[in-house]
Symmetry: C2
Subunit: 230 residues, 2 copies
């Protein structure tokens, strides 16, 4: 009889985090009250302030819990690629797959809340004045810095501004593909999103096609090597 009076201790923190994660995704930070969180987690109202200090500190912890591990995984994937290549410049498709494949992997994890978190992350990207954004950027800076550096190295003839912009576009397409599925359903009525495994090759084809697209205007095209790489 543990679930009746719900006073089982150390799992309270994670129950709060899970409930907050889902509610933040559905209703936003301001639209989610402490009472909604504690009610959904079946803990006392004061538990959040006891375990985390404040609502803002809880929000931070919701992100750090997942982001740190995810970016570490990304960097490990990049290091593995570099070791396999002996330090030589990588193919752009491999770099893109290492970065965005990690996102999609977590978004495909429906059982452990990964999908919920990635949707929350996607909607947080577009919040201009939230204190969370500044802190997310710091959490991301090392990872994006290293991946961009590898992209620069792999595309030596392409202006860095163009690479940066296309990386940005890829981030947008990916975030939106994960966070904006409701919008898609409403655009198109019912459609088949029941198989998240199909999303990965679909999105990857789109991302790599966009990355390889001819540069706008006066600028030279991407090197031919990348036009056939899969």
């Amino acid at each position: 009889m543990r679930e009746s009076h719900a006073k089982q201790g150390p799992e309270t923190r994670s129950r709060i985090l899970d409930a907050a994660e889902r509610l933040f995704m559905e209703h936003g930070f301001d639209g989610t009250s402490m009472r909604m969180i504690t009610g959904s987690a079946n803990v006392n109202l004061a538990a959040v302030n006891y375990h985390f200090g404040s609502k803002d500190a809880l929000i931070q912890e919701v992100f750090t819990r997942r982001l740190t591990a995810m970016n570490k995984e990304r960097l490990a994937a990049l290091d593995a690629l570099l070791e396999a290549s002996g330090g030589e410049p990588l193919k752009p498709s491999r770099i893109v797959e290492a970065f965005f494949g990690t996102s999609l992997e977590m978004a495909a994890d429906n059982d452990n809340g990964g999908y919920i978190f990635m949707r929350l992350l996607g909607r947080t990207y577009t919040e201009p004045n939230s204190f969370v954004r500044q802190f997310i950027a710091e959490e991301y800076s090392e990872c994006t810095g290293r991946f961009l550096a590898e992209l620069y190295r792999s595309l030596p003839g392409v202006p860095r501004d163009e690479i940066l912009w296309r990386f940005h576009f890829m981030m947008g397409a990916t975030s939106y593909a994960i966070a904006g599925t409701d919008a898609l359903q409403l655009f198109a009525g019912k459609f088949d999103d029941s198989d998240p495994a199909r999303l990965v090759p679909r999105l990857m084809s789109f991302l790599l096609g966009g990355l390889r697209g001819p540069l706008p205007e006066f600028q030279e095209e991407l090197p031919v090597e990348h036009r056939n790489a899969a």
Copy 2:
């Protein structure tokens, strides 16, 4: 002396709408209070409820004010293309330009609030439970329906699911390119976004590259006609 006591009448509505639009973009719907709106617009607190009825009704009006005109403009651009082609299927690039060019046009309008609104729209796409999303979808349904139908007609060999997904990805890249500029700045430190005119060709190259990318897995490629269309 009109600006002192600010009781000049019919412009109150639009002053409220402008202030609300900016504040909703910066802080979200729940993060923006009636007092913030009326304070920023220099009107009395009760003015919103008098002119619009409620906060929710104000939110709706913020969107209808711009969306109706924008989608009408999109459909007019599509009709113009169809008339020029004599009803024959259009090139996919033209369809994409007609749809997303209108978005980017409004996003480039810094003086009349178009940029602010497009950022607000982008962040609203990712809000799952907001009542605004249902209502935006209705406002969009005719327009996206017709554009998707033209895309299907212009790509007869491509499965409709794939076209729908790529349209979704293009929406994401565009929304994020507009709404997520802060995220990009934080990823990459300072960078040149001072010239919004350059965004258009950059994004178009990316979108069309993604649209033309080889289809994933077992499925056949896009017809060759589209691989060189600009």
